[in-house]
Amino acid sequence: MRNLVLSACLALASFFGLANTAAAEGLTLDGPPKVAMLYISPTNDGGWTQAFDEARQRLEDELDIRIRYVESVPESASAIRPAVERFIQRGANIIIGTAFGYSDTFKSLSEEYPDVAFLNGSGTTNGPNLLSFYGRTYESQYLCGMAAGAASETGKLGFVAANPFGQVNWTINAYAMGAREMNPDATVTVVYTGAWNDPTKERSATQALIDQGADVIGQHVDTPTPQLVAQENGVYGTGHHRDFREFAPEATVCSSVWVWDRFLKAELEKIIAGNWVPRENGALLSMEEGGTDIACCGPNISEDEEARIMAAREKLMNGELDVYAGPLSDQDGNVRAAAGESIPDGELWQMDWFVDGVITQQ
């Protein structure tokens, strides 16, 4: 009998508890924030994951919290799920993922654990307690394109890219537009390697571009190989993910870098403050919000040119400059954005066209 009363009380209490959360608009953490991160590769990968780990260390200092992490979690549910569930059992209530391939598992976990906040870098799924985020890499790569255009003597730029996806193509187009800002005749020849992490293919792609006369090599692949090959050949390059002057100080004139802490600090503060409502379609971060930035400028860039690049950076930071604002046409003459308009995010993700000056096999 007592048991029955007790369970009835509990049921009633949980009913009110539920009603309470349902009444509130967003997610409020039960206790103090406990953050845990899942990395797709080792922390010293020199690129994507290392940028996240550097952001984690800055976040720990700035927010005065401890952030746990686990490295090399592959993109399969059987690996992601146990890692996340163990963190949650130990009291974590904010989980940050770092991979496109975590998207589906994070979606189902966020439904199973509605009291936990989920964030996922380069993910594609969103929900009431799940926010995917990525940077508008075309902004920082536009600036690197400017640096490349300035550093180039021949006006022939090369670009080593992974796969012709929307978010790779948008960096290529922006790179070409940036380069043409400094040198109206600049061209960007693109080699896709078909892999994010194949230094052998990156090396031969870079060498082929240099043999064809390119004297600045941009990149949207994960290893610093293109910068190393550029340095061996005595030409220049622009890096991606982190400041690649670490690897090729004589070659790297500019790098597009991730500054996740700028975004995550603000977002974590919102979560900690309570009543967190993630953006419905995910967060595609402008430089202003803190997704990407540049490390600039390396050799062969004059002070005047550097000032122009930094002025453009300022404009991107305060929203005066939109890389994909109209009037904008692709190289076949199709209008992609009319004057006064800009390309919506959905179309950016599907970009399969190129602006004037880009030379590809596509």
Binding site: P42, G46, R203, D211, T360, Q361
Partner: protein
């Protein structure tokens, strides 16, 4: 002009790892042991080579250590297939997964990721290096020039020496070899270890000499292509070398075409090496020649008491 010169000059970078790995596989498989672990042993060679270079700063030591490391890891495979007589297909696959984990773990813990190394100086073979178009083919590092020599020595050892004859006999008919007093398991062990050394050298060539840095899983499936090459070449070393050069030609051509802006769908180009392999294998099967060149006892564990 630039395209052709640059293309031909880049062929050895791609061809040599395929050739060395395929040769290593042929040595092992001629003894009757089916070796599918090339991808894993190449990864071990790649990480060991970079690790040894970063420690000792000597290319020769790096390459030798890479060969030794792959041989040591192959002892595990030998234990599985020779002593415990586990299915050779499964053992080979397990070896690949084990080596992927092992090489990533060691390389990451030691902090060898993305550490550039200088590689070997290219040596110009004068006067060949002055030839138009093909000149750059003769400006390569010493290991590229040694590759045909390694092939010559291996072919001589396999087909002209008594140990080579015995090794092939073990692969064709282990019972008869055993009756003739040849230590079957001893020859198979030696074939596994020597083959692994060459596969390890192929891995170290990729990391230390060609790419000049290491990242996890950097061989990117080239070990599997070597496995296919061996079947494609019907276990003949010279045909394997020709196949490796053919693959090298295609792989080296892909970026050249893109860099020249030639309009050709990259998906078609990426598919080309595999489509050609498939085509040649079908051609070989259809022509019905050389079908006996596969070692007769390939993939069968040797049990002395068993008479067939």
């Amino acid at each position: 002009m630039d395209l052709i010169t640059s293309w031909i000059g880049n062929i050895p970078e791609f061809a040599v790892p395929f050739a060395l790995a395929a040769l290593g596989l042929i040595i092992t498989e001629k003894s009757g042991v089916l070796a599918l672990g090339a991808e894993g042993l190449m990864l071990v060679g790649a990480v060991a080579g970079i690790g040894a270079y970063l420690t000792f700063e000597q290319n020769a030591i790096a390459l030798i250590m890479a060969m030794m490391a792959a041989s040591v890891v192959s002892l595990l495979f030998a234990l599985m297939v020779l002593v415990m007589r586990i299915n050779q297909v499964i053992s080979g696959l397990v070896l690949v997964f084990f080596c992927q984990g092992l090489s990533t773990l060691v390389g990451t813990l030691m902090g060898w990721t993305n550490q550039p190394v200088p590689g070997l100086h290219a040596i110009a073979l004068w006067p060949l290096s002055e030839l138009p178009y093909v000149g750059r083919f003769f400006v390569q590092n010493i290991v590229v020039y040694l590759t045909p020599v390694i092939f010559l020595v291996t072919v001589w050892a396999l087909y002209r020496s008594t140990p080579g004859l015995r090794l092939r006999a073990v692969g064709e008919n282990p019972q008869a070899s055993d009756a003739a007093g040849i230590p079957v398991l001893g020859y198979r062990l030696a074939a596994i270890v020597v083959g692994a050394a060459l596969i390890g050298l192929a891995g170290a060539f990729i990391s230390v000499l060609s790419t000049k840095l290491w990242i996890a899983n950097m061989t990117g499936g080239r070990g599997w292509i070597a496995v296919a090459l061996v079947i494609f070449a019907r276990w003949s070393p010279w045909k394997a070398l020709a196949g490796a050069v053919l693959f090298g030609c295609i792989e080296a051509l892909i970026p050249q075409l893109a860099a020249s802006g030639i309009k050709l769908s990259q998906y078609f180009v990426f598919m080309a090496p595999y489509a050609i392999t498939l085509g040649v294998m079908i051609w070989v099967a259809a022509s019905k020649r050389d079908t006996s060149s596969q070692p007769a006892d390939l993939g069968t564990p040797f049990i002395r008491e068993e008479r067939t």
